[in-house]
């Protein structure tokens, strides 16, 4: 069996007296889509921010591609980050840049990329999310769903091996949400990515995930396929699925 691409052991993270993650362990296998469900404030976003080291955990270990994230220097960390894509809840597009410039932005980390190659990659990434026509627009001219898709295109432009989706369907109407969920599935097929999808949206989890875990108070309270988890006896999990 292939080793897990992400291996988290006994992760703890607190903000003052607030224990957000309490001894959490989980693994993500290559090519797997893992959805993390849970109420607001249960530590879902903190977990993925710890994985990409936007936050430093208090205790525990995070191993990505076989490397302990805490032991990496700045250069090595940036090299690993180039293999990761992150779709933020707000899409986090750079307001002062056009869609094209937003997509070109991560490409600056690649050594000696030609302008032709850059244009090709930008156009391809936008075609993947069906937004080729928006290439010269400013982020302020885009709708919420379009911003998410541009954000997704930007996170895919470096052809990552791992994708993190932080509440990809929050704030979108059901039809657009479904579109984004199917896009996540398409991304996995096309790029063979492993993904962690943070969501409250059961339908999104059902469409996108191979496996689901439910977090409560920073601990995993249920794990399995979405059908298995939905039949759990745990009251917190039941409440979530009702």
């Amino acid at each position: 069996m292939e080793p897990a691409i992400i291996d988290i052991q006994h992760l703890k993270k607190s903000f003052g007296p607030n224990h957000v993650l309490a001894d959490l362990s989980l693994k993500v296998n290559k090519g797997e889509n893992l959805a993390i469900l849970g109420k607001s404030g249960t530590g879902k976003s903190v977990l993925i921010k710890c994985i990409v080291r936007l936050l430093d955990p208090d205790e525990g270990s995070i191993t990505v591609f076989g490397k302990n994230m805490e032991e990496l220097g700045e250069g090595e960390l940036n090299e690993i980050r180039k293999k990761m894509g992150f779709l933020f809840q707000s899409a986090a597009l750079y307001d002062s840049l056009t869609v094209r410039e937003n997509l070109e932005f991560p490409l600056r980390t690649l050594p000696k990329i030609t302008e032709e190659e850059m244009n090709k990659r930008v156009e391809e990434a936008l075609q993947n999310v069906d937004l080729a026509a928006a290439i010269d627009k400013m982020p302020s001219e885009l709708s919420g769903g379009m911003r998410k898709r541009v954000g997704l295109a930007r996170s895919l432009i470096l052809k990552p091996e791992i994708m993190f989706y932080d509440e990809p369907t929050t704030g979108l109407d059901p039809i657009t949400s479904r579109g984004i969920s199917h896009l996540i599935v398409a991304v996995r097929k096309k790029y063979n990515t492993s993904s962690i999808i943070i969501t409250h949206d059961i339908e999104c989890a059902r469409i996108t995930s191979d496996r689901v875990i439910v977090l409560d108070k920073g601990k995993c309270i249920a794990e399995g396929t979405i059908d298995e988890v939905s039949k759990s006896d745990n009251n917190e999990v039941k409440a979530f699925f009702q």
Binding site: Q89, D95, L158
Partner: protein, 284 residues
């Protein structure tokens, strides 16, 4: 340092002296301790930010395109505001100074006196204060909103150093653009002064500027020009610090913009005070 001290005093007054819940000496001491702790933490964070800037500024890759963009925003887009203010400043200073000189029959000294005032002190300080308002609030609010909307996090996970891209470029632009704006402002203010002189007297353009340049000395121009780099640096540093360390939420954006203007302006006076002392030290 002084801006943080001002912040401390303000918070102390607000939270301790005017708080009816704290009515015994022990509670006041505890509050004082926590405020001192917060002051020291703030000081150390600003120092770390300052050191971080110097660590990043010489390290490649250099964000030249972003630096040019910020220089355009800070410099070019402030021209009109600076020009208008400078013209009025020169004009008003001339009109206000004239009666006092007339009393001594010394109105022929007016161009020289106004020029020395503008070049040595008023031009740099007023221009820096305008920039602390316009540029400082812009940088503070922009960086804070970038932080709130996770744009800075997004750069970091893309493997791009956000400090270098966002902070270093803005501080450098502010440092280099402010002196140019001050030179421009001084020039416009002298034109304003020429206009002011000609409201009551008739002085030719050539004579006015001969008077100005005869009295202006290297020791008037050089220290005043050098201190503008420090004005620009302190405005850039403080506003980037406030924006980059803003609290989350829209309230944090407002606070960052406000603090950037208040502490940026305060820093201008602090730097000016230090610069005047150093200049005096060398001139004596």
């Amino acid at each position: 340092m002084l801006c943080l001290m001002g912040n401390l005093v303000f918070k102390y007054h607000k939270q301790v002296l005017f708080n009816p819940m704290i009515d015994n000496n022990e509670a006041v001491i505890v509050k004082k301790e926590s405020l001192i702790k917060r002051y020291l933490v703030g000081m150390s964070k600003l120092t770390v930010f300052f050191v971080h800037f110097f660590k990043e500024v010489f390290k490649p890759p250099y964000e030249f395109k972003e630096f040019m963009k910020q220089s355009y925003r800070i410099g070019n887009q402030s021209f009109l505001l600076v020009a208008t203010t400078a013209f009025i400043m020169g004009l008003v200073l001339t009109i206000q100074s004239r009666p006092a000189l007339v009393q001594f029959g010394a109105q022929s000294w007016l161009p020289a006196m106004v020029a020395v005032s503008i070049v040595r002190e008023i031009g740099p300080v007023i221009t820096a204060l305008i920039c602390a308002g316009k540029v400082g609030s812009g940088i503070g609010a922009e960086l804070a909103s970038m932080k709130v909307t996770e744009q800075i996090d997004s750069m970091e996970v893309s493997g791009i150093n956000p400090f270098k891209y966002v902070v270093v470029t803005r501080i450098l632009s502010a440092t280099l653009m402010l002196p140019l704006l001050v030179v421009f402002a001084d020039t416009v203010a002298l034109f304003g002064s020429y206009f002011g002189v000609n409201l009551k007297d008739t002085v030719s353009f050539q004579l006015f500027f001969i008077e100005v340049f005869q009295k202006l000395d290297f020791s008037d121009v050089f220290p005043a020009f050098i201190k503008t780099f420090f004005f620009g640096f302190s405005i850039g540093l403080v506003s980037c610090y406030m924006g980059y360390n803003a609290d989350n939420g829209t309230e944090g954006v407002g606070k960052a913009a406000n603090s950037a203007v208040v502490f940026g302006s305060l820093m201008v006076f602090v730097v000016d005070m230090v610069a005047v002392q150093i200049t005096n030290l060398f001139s004596t």
